[in-house]
């Protein structure tokens, strides 16, 4: 189980290869990559900055991964989230999960992403033609996370 918060970009291919390397139990690897779009709520975005709460961020992500591990039979999990200045088309986040079968891998990957969106202390600030603005949380993210509650 690996959690990394970093300014640097990441190589998805290399990360996925490393996650499953040498583990012959793995029959499924599910991954999600979040990217910076050039438009949000109909307004053009030229730049974005991601702020976070150092210390709590890593702790919150590790807790989310631990919960995924408790719920599903998964072998490996990886979360990489970037912070600092980003531009459209840049990678923001990678979540990847390995398991024996696809059902567990898909579900755990989606769960980690949904909880990350509502529980990990990151904040986006985007630059638009009218100036910079903090991104508002979406209600759809709350409902996406709520559906996993038992």
């Amino acid at each position: 189980m690996t959690v990394r918060v970093q300014e640097a970009d990441f190589d998805v291919g290399a990360e996925l290869t490393a996650l499953r390397a040498g583990d012959a139990r793995v029959g499924a690897l599910a991954s999600f990559v979040g990217l910076v779009r050039d438009v949000n709520h109909g307004v053009g975005i030229s730049e974005m900055t991601l702020e976070h709460y150092p210390g709590m961020t890593e702790k919150a992500l590790a807790a989310i991964v631990d919960e995924a591990k408790a719920r599903w039979d998964i072998y490996g999990a990886l979360v990489i989230h970037r912070v600092g200045p980003l531009k459209p088309c840049d990678q923001i986040v990678l979540v990847a999960v390995t398991s024996a079968h696809r059902g567990e891998a898909f579900a755990a990957c989606e769960f980690i992403m949904d909880y990350l969106k509502t529980r990990a202390p990151f904040w986006k600030r985007e630059v638009t033609p009218e100036g910079a603005r903090w991104v508002d949380a979406r209600e759809s993210d709350d409902s996406a996370a709520t559906r996993w509650e038992k």
């Binding site: 709590m56 702790k59 986040v93 969106k117 990151f122 986006k124 903090w134 991104v135």
Partner: protein, 82 residues
């Protein structure tokens, strides 16, 4: 009792600081009490911020969470990562 208070994102910007050490009167014992006390002592943005979230020692906490000497208490808007 003194606590380390941290502010993030739009709240940090509105208050013009990322954090402060705060000496609290004896009557302030919860996160909600701390928020009210700070709001009435010059940090009025804490009163008007919508859906403010809080963490105590880097764990999400509700308004009724207990505040203890030496705690790290963070206030911030709803998160928007991913």
């Amino acid at each position: 009792m003194s606590v380390q208070v941290l502010y993030f994102a739009s709240l940090k910007e509105a208050l013009g600081m990322g954090g402060e050490m705060v000496e609290l009167p004896a009557g302030v014992t919860t996160v909600g009490g701390l928020r009210d006390w700070l709001a009435s002592h010059g940090r009025d943005k804490l009163a008007s911020a919508r859906n403010l979230r809080c963490a105590v020692n880097q764990d999400m906490a509700g308004a009724d969470a207990i505040v203890r000497d030496g705690d790290e208490i963070a206030f911030f808007p709803p998160v928007t990562g991913g």
